[in-house]
Amino acid sequence: MTSLILTVRESIRYRGRSGQYSWLAHRISGLAILFFLVIHVWDTANAFFWPQAYAWSLALFKTPFFGIGEVGVMAAVLYHAFNGIRITILDFKPEWWRFQRTSSLITWGLFLLAFIPAAILMLSGMIGHCSELAAAGDSCLRIPAFSEFAQYAR
Amino acid sequence: MKTHVFDAVIVGAGGAGLMAALYASRGANVAVVSKLYPTRSHTGTAQGGIGAALGNLEEDRWEWHAYDTVKGSDYLADQDAVDVLCKEAIETVIELEHMGLPFDRLPNGRISQRRFGGHTNNETGKPVMRACHAADRTGHMILQTLYQQCIKNRVNFFDEFHVVDLLRAGDAVRGIIAYEIATGELHVFHSKAVLFATGGWGRCWDVTSNAHSLTGDGTAICLRNGVPLQDMEFFQFHPTGIYKLGILITEGVRGEGGILLNGKGERFMEKYAPTIKDLASRDVVSRAIFLEIQAGRGINGQNYVHLDVTPETVNKYLAEAGETRRVDRAYIESKLPDIADFARTYLGVDPVEEPMPIQPTAHYAMGGIPTDLDGRVILGAQKQVLNGLYAAGECACVSVHGANRLGTNSLVDLVVFGRRAGRHIAEYCQGADQGRLATGTGDAVYGDLERIRNGSGGVKPYTLRRRMQQTMTDNVGVFRTEATMSKAVEDLRELRHDYQTKLQIDDKGKTYNTDLLEAWELGCLLELAEVTAVAACARQESRGGHAREDFPERDDERYLMHSLAAPDGRGGYTLEYKPVVMGRYEPKKRVY
């Protein structure tokens, strides 16, 4: 535990360069994706085992709270993917070590390039969904009731 | 006090100590005691190369190497020892290669060699490629390789144990006392044999290439224990230290074609050494630089000259000399990477683009603990052997360097005589018996250390050290006179008195008390500085590294002799002399 505290504190205090921040971001994004993925997998499996729960969860995920989380997952996946490829390349091409800074910058650049449009599309989709519901007198903030999906009960 | 029992104790883990340890441990149970982690030893800073007449690039013979060494020594070296040095240099360098030392290579796969000051082809008088090297970190590779071999052979190390005394019982040796730096505890190492390999004492001077830890401890301990010190007046000033800092710029720079230039842009070494110019031996070049500066021809009239290794300049002079070889940036960077790094870091100068400001720097102790060819310490003019006591490396004086050491010869000295001493120790320990320790062992040093710890005179060791370094630099430097040296002796007397009576340190603790140890080391420096000044004062001639304005000529009639300095019992030092071992080479006037 002490080593965890030390590492976390010093990973912020130590004046490292691009690689240190890339590593922190990679680690955090990896954990975030995993957290989401595990829920997602078990949830999706319900499509077969317990369709009612699955359908309900799909509706639940459309609320803005989850919508924003989804944008976060998108950010995590994109960064983690690009940076993972960067690490892999540096491991397999030792002599490219000298691009440590350039490669980090490229990774962040690619990430932004991919993420900004993705975020805009995702957020506009979400806003569209909310305004549709608002027009119909409903609210996208309303948490759907489980019973609404009884039609999918096994 | 903890007691350890070993056959032999090696004090110091530089090149000499480790080589001796490797050999001694083949036949005896050995402990290596060092105040630094072995890889921190100053051997690691040696740059240019190790000399051996391998003849990998051009014809070379060990006899030529021997002649160059004797000539370089200004005929003060013992020629039997020089023969051993130069002959065994070849097999020892090969042995180092077999231990894995990564020398630079020639296209045909052999060890690469370069030129170095004072090393010549005896037939043509031209510089010869004799210095075997691993870029400009030859010493680093030697130190690493020897340490690696020690690990492989499971040598016992006591790292960060500071040796403070030698244990003698009449004409035999009983071991040493060491201060464990981590805990402040004293340890007795009870042994049949002791080898000192504690390196030099350049810290007596202000501008020096030597590490902070080079304080001559082993040499001073021997002096205190009745070993007269040999040829202490001969201390080498290396011509090319970084201006003000003293950090060494290897002679290898000139070996690769670097040129010394004065304030007028002249290659002044043409005047002082017409044949081999910038590659003359060190004393000659240091004096030349000093004279140029004195004549106002330093750069902008200041106390330094330029060392120029820019491809432009080097190629110009190569062309002038009719050589076909040319250098470029890549070449300089690959042959002198560390030098380039030092210049960039400490001078802010890129040596490939600009010349480097340099001045002579206190560098190497030719004198020290007198030994025979097997590293056994010998006492006085009668050359009586002190059984079980050995010395090797810079702290010892075999003497192969005489009045002036040639570049690359120290590393040879370390490994050749370290090896011989190690072998002899292994043999000696088989026969000798352990003896008994006297009661009260260690009380005296304990008292000394306590006195330093509890001193309350209000004078910090640092103040005394500064004053010592100042007086040594001003008065016992490249050029000396009766007046300056007497002044130095006087100053040093006073400093030693202050050291005894007024010293005060801040750290009274046990754990890692480096304050205390620095003060203890200062005691060694003060003694060695005074011995140096006294011996220098008495030698009324100029020879090698000892250049007197009042006696500018060499005087073979009176002084073709080794000096031996010992305490006179009244707080000062007396001198006696012993003859030099001559051989094939008769003293001649030294011209380069």
Partner: protein, 240 residues
């Protein structure tokens, strides 16, 4: 110029916890090294300040410490590199991380050297020496393969800058891998397999997450991460 130093102090005999000592020095030059300043503090102000040092020009590896947040050798870090503002330079000095602090800036190096020793850092061969009694031959190209890693001075700046090492001191660390690399890629050496077996284990090269702090900390400018990656490749491909 003036220097304001904050030095992490700890004396096990008197202190329960480390504390910050603050010192001001005048007449500091832009070309002074941090070691020069620490010496001035020790010699002029407080002799109890404790650190290791020897050569004072970056080749003995004694004085790795954390200067303004990142590892470096005190004797190779010049005041002018540390951001002089209005003729004042602020310098913060701490011991290196991940090894036990014994006193002030001085840490226990034993675990570090244990890792070093664990990778067989010595030349091994069964091939007899050449019959002519001369050197083993090696082409300049083969020699060049491990040139970079022969420069290591075992200062520990790299290992103690590595977050993986902070997390678990059993990771052999970049310095030991650099030392192993020096032998693995030496065409004369014959124990590459054994060293690679050590390094392929749980606390070997895989703990390196390509963070590059080591490369950036190395005062000898060794391409540490490159060397580690070459070792990883040697293990994956079975070729050296």
């Amino acid at each position: 110029m003036q220097a304001k130093l904050r030095i992490r102090r700890f004396n096990p005999e008197t202190d329960k916890k480390p504390w910050w000592g603050e010192y001001t020095l005048d007449e500091v030059l832009r070309t002074d090294t941090v070691l020069d300043l620490l010496h001035r503090v020790k010699w002029e102000q407080d002799g109890t300040l404790t650190l290791r040092r020897s050569c004072a020009h970056g080749v003995c590896g004694s004085d790795a410490m954390r200067i303004n947040g990142a590892n470096a050798l005190a004797c190779k870090t010049l005041v002018k590199e540390l951001g002089v503002k209005n003729d004042v330079v602020k310098i913060q000095v701490e011991p290196i991380l991940g090894l036990t602090v014994e006193k002030d800036l001085l840490v226990d190096m034993e675990p570090f050297f244990d890792h070093y020793r664990s990778v067989m850092p010595y030349f091994v061969t069964d091939t007899p020496v050449p019959a002519d009694g001369r050197e083993r031959l090696q082409s300049p190209e083969d020699r060049a393969r491990f040139d970079d890693t022969t420069k290591c001075i075992l200062c520990a700046a790299c290992t103690t800058s590595c977050p993986s090492f902070w997390a678990d001191g059993r990771y052999v660390g970049p310095a030991a891998i650099v030392q192993a690399h020096r032998f693995i890629f030496d065409s004369r050496d014959e124990a590459a397999g054994e060293r690679l077996d050590v390094l392929a284990d749980t606390f070997g090269v895989w703990r390196c997450r390509t963070i590059f702090n080591c490369t950036n900390a190395c005062p000898r400018e060794i391409k540490v991460t490159e060397a580690i990656a070459e070792v990883k490749m040697a293990i994956t491909s079975g070729r050296v």
